[in-house]
């Protein structure tokens, strides 16, 4: 089940040849521009007809060139949130939202209009026209429009790419809520590791029209070597944490992983809430003894599980702390000076402030 994609398509000099499957709640297609992300999404939606291939969603075959199956886009019931919103300018927000519902067979209308409006916080916009909306509002309405049509799968093609950081921060929580509450699988195109770390359950890495890696986000994100050059610094571990309490005096939250205690910039959630934090490998220091007199708040004891060369001067050290894996990118010089080797007990040091934008709520 889930989505299965196998397509081959030539467009001028560009050759798209990808095969992947995912049953995750939010599958991120990740790669630099020109890697074929949008083409894949268009093929799933039926807006692009590949030379050959097969696409199925939740067991329903939408494309199979071998059997001459091509379900036209309007019969696929796949929601699509475009990078440029594409709201209908001649309709009000409310009419835009209800547009797709009209074409959905009554028996398959699971999405409730009022719930979608609440989920996205667009109740105040209903009577307005798209031309009067801000970029962030437009994108939220576009998401709502796709959801109200009760799709079987939701495609999101870099829905945040045209927005500034503030607007992105405005929309991300809604995407998270959708992933957790709407209960439909999402395919999310992005070229930002931060977005993927926060949103994705699964990742398909793409490069020049091919899949370079695919799997759960926890497995893919630490692999700096797989990420495009500009995003390598973003590689890191995904560490599941449980909220223990708040440290109100300093505006921090206290959390626990299987390897120890963490202090993070305040997270508004009740005790017991589960949170995943992305710890970039470049933000982790290694000490061979428990450090004293250090400003960093998070010191995790662990054992070096593996070491691997990363470029000419650096080594990626993977540390097993409790059941969790942490990654540290250190220079080869440090490796030599500290005598780092697999099996050695070390302390991983993470500055709390380096984790401020990397928190992702998850259930």
């Amino acid at each position: 089940m889930g989505i299965e994609v196998a397509i081959r398509h030539r467009q001028g000099d560009f050759m798209l040849h990808v095969t992947f499957a995912s049953a995750g709640r939010l599958t991120a297609l990740f790669g630099p521009s020109g890697s074929g992300k949008t083409s894949i999404v268009n093929a799933i939606a039926g807006l692009m007809r590949p030379d050959s291939g097969r696409v199925s969603v939740e067991g329903r075959v939408l494309l199979d060139t071998g059997q001459r199956i091509f379900v036209p886009p309007h019969r696929r019931r796949i929601g699509y949130v475009f990078q440029d919103a594409r709201l209908f300018p001649h309709l009000t927000v409310s009419q835009n939202l209800r547009y797709g519902r009209f074409f959905t067979p009554p028996a398959e209308r699971y999405a409730e209009f009022s719930k979608v409006v609440d989920l996205l916080g667009i109740g105040a916009l209903l009577e307005r026209r798209p031309a009067g909306l801000s970029g962030g509002e437009r994108q939220r309405v576009a998401i709502g429009r796709a959801l109200v049509a009760s799709p079987r799968l939701l495609l999101m093609d870099e829905p945040l790419a045209s927005l500034d950081d503030e607007r992105k921060a405005e929309i991300l929580p809604y995407v998270e809520r959708m992933r957790d509450e709407a209960g439909i699988p999402i395919v999310y195109v992005s070229h930002s590791v931060a977005e993927i770390a926060r949103l994705a359950s699964d990742v398909v890495l793409l490069s020049e029209g091919r899949v370079t890696a695919a799997g759960p986000v926890e497995d893919i994100l630490p692999r700096a070597d797989l990420l495009p050059a500009g995003e390598r610094g973003e590689a890191g571990a995904m560490v599941p944490l449980e909220l223990v309490g708040q440290d109100d005096a300093f505006g921090l939250s206290v959390l626990r992983s299987s390897g120890g205690e963490w202090r993070l910039p305040r997270i508004d959630a009740p005790a017991g809430a589960r949170v995943t934090v992305r710890v970039r490998a470049r933000d982790v220091m290694i000490a061979t003894e428990r450090p004293a007199g250090i400003s960093a708040l998070n010191v995790l004891e662990g054992r070096i599980a593996a070491m691997e060369m990363a470029g000419d001067s650096e080594t990626l050290v993977s540390i097993l702390s409790g059941d969790d894996r942490l990654y540290a990118r250190v220079t080869r010089r440090s490796v030599g000076q500290l005598g780092l080797e697999p099996g050695k007990t070390v302390f991983a040091i993470v500055k709390s402030v380096s984790l401020d934008s990397a928190v992702a709520a998850r259930r």
Binding site: G46, H74, G79, H90, R145
Partner: protein
């Protein structure tokens, strides 16, 4: 201001002209939208031929168009005799023929205006409507059509104005019969051909100017209202 009073015969010509122009516009509008859509969106063999055919009345001398209509849609013409026998539709020397001549002459202007507006429609919006479950027909009816409405209105008004002024093709095809095929321009022409007809010609000229102005202003107001609705 006694001389401004239209005589009953002149009223007949004014009413006939309006009737002929409205029919010419309304009947050719659906065809115009279809042809404009095909020209704007489709690629096919013979596209430039269709394009040329549509534009022919704009380039040919109106008399030639009228004569061609007479040859094909006249009582003895292949199309004319067929329509007469199958549907009882007669064009020659009837007001219907005047409407046909006006419609044909105005057609290129109408198609041009609508085609331009179709080409201006963002096709990405149509793709978006498709992903929301709208079939191509529904996409056209609910997205394309509302977005090109200003162009359709402009095309229709342009066609109406052209039909009101059509002279050459009409008089060649259906002659100049008072009460049946004598439209405003034909009536004015007739007045100028008889002694003492200057007053009548002037009156009908003023009527022509008035109708043209009203049509223009109405289209401006309508277009503004529609585009405000689309892009408010």
């Amino acid at each position: 201001m006694e001389w401004l009073q239209l005589s009953p015969e002149e009223w007949v010509a004014v009413r006939l002209s309006i009737k002929v122009s409205i029919w010419a516009t309304l009947v050719s509008l659906p065809v115009g939208i279809l042809v404009a859509h095909v020209l704007a969106r489709r690629e096919f063999v013979g596209k430039s031929l269709l394009n040329g055919l549509v534009h022919l009345p704009l380039i040919l001398p109106p008399v030639v168009t009228g004569y061609l209509l007479l040859l094909s849609f006249g009582r003895r013409g292949p199309v004319g005799s067929f329509l007469d026998q199958c549907c009882g539709l007669v064009f020659s020397f009837r007001w219907t023929g005047a409407a046909l001549a006006c419609g044909v002459m105005a057609f290129p202007l109408m198609v041009r205006a609508i085609r331009l507006s179709i080409e201006a429609v963002d096709r990405k919006l149509e793709a978006a409507a498709g992903t929301l479950g709208a079939s191509p027909m529904m996409v056209f009816a609910t997205v394309t059509l509302p977005l090109i409405l200003p162009g359709i209105v402009a095309g229709a008004i342009l066609a109406f104005a052209k039909a009101m002024g059509e002279f050459g093709a009409t008089i060649t095809f259906v002659s100049n019969i008072p009460g049946e095929t004598q439209t405003l321009p034909s009536a004015i022409y007739t007045f100028t051909q008889v002694p003492g007809g200057e007053a009548g010609a002037l009156r009908l000229t003023l009527v022509s100017i008035a109708i043209a102005m009203i049509a223009l202003v109405a289209s401006e107001i309508l277009a503004r209202r529609i585009s405000r609705r689309i892009a408010a």
